[in-house]
């Protein structure tokens, strides 16, 4: 097997794993996805704030899933 073919196969495997992960995330129970969203809101806010001023409504939702 040439190095080029090996790399292509490895890239395909990585792509397939990513697709599988995305589909697994999509298939999570809805309430779990909302919990992840609430977590992402908290996690991303400091990063966004470093890049640009926040809009006044951009803040984590103070709710439970």
């Amino acid at each position: 097997m040439s190095e080029e073919r090996f790399d292509r196969a490895a890239a395909q495997r990585t792509f397939d794993r990513k697709l599988k992960w995305h589909r697994e995330q999509a298939a999570l129970p809805l309430k779990e996805k909302v919990r992840i969203l609430l977590q992402l809101q908290k996690q991303d806010l400091p990063l966004i704030e470093r890049l640009r001023p926040l809009e006044p409504w951009e803040r984590p939702w103070p709710i439970e899933p």
């Binding site: 697709l19 999509a26 999570l28 996805k33 969203l37 992402l40 409504w57 709710i63």
Partner: protein
């Protein structure tokens, strides 16, 4: 503490009270119902209206109703149980159809109208922008999209975009 279901219940109450003719959730919150979670800080709600507001201010009936319910506003957003909700009037045929054909789903016992995946992609591609295209791609990857239906929608509404079969 309130829950997202409480927010959805208020939207349905608004419909029953006749404040809006109909509504449907769009944007990243709608995508949650079909694909992997994607971060957003507001909830987009598309509404069809016939009687409320004026031509210059079509959403004024919604703001008035929200005020009587004790919900405050930040700019254009109404804080429903502290979740910023942006109401968007049906400004073209694609949005009007997306609202009319929304899926009626259940979230923790709350009835909620959610734009279906094919319309979500068509709306994202019509509005444009990198983030919206990324979300459209996420929906395609999730495997829930009827590609033939999507192609028909794009053609019907003259949206120039290719729908790949291998995603």
């Amino acid at each position: 503490m309130s829950s997202l279901g409480d927010v959805f219940r208020i939207l349905d109450e608004m419909r029953h009270a006749g404040v809006v003719d109909d509504y449907a959730i769009g944007g990243a919150t709608a995508i949650l119902f079909y694909a992997e979670p994607t971060r957003t800080y507001d909830l987009d709600v598309f509404v069809s209206l016939t009687r409320q507001g004026s031509r210059l201010s079509p959403l004024s009936g919604i703001y008035e109703w929200a005020r009587t319910k004790g919900f405050s506003t930040i700019g254009e957003h109404i804080l429903i149980h502290d979740v910023p909700v942006q109401f968007l009037p049906a400004h073209n045929a694609l949005v009007a159809d997306a609202i009319a054909e929304a899926n009626v789903l259940d979230y923790e016992g709350a009835r909620v109208r959610v734009i279906n995946p094919e319309y979500l992609i068509a709306l994202a591609l019509q509005a444009g922008g990198a983030r919206r295209r990324e979300r459209a791609w996420q929906l395609l990857e999730s495997g829930v999209v009827d590609r033939e239906r999507l192609r028909r929608l794009l053609e019907q509404h003259e949206i120039d975009a290719e729908v790949p079969d291998d995603v």
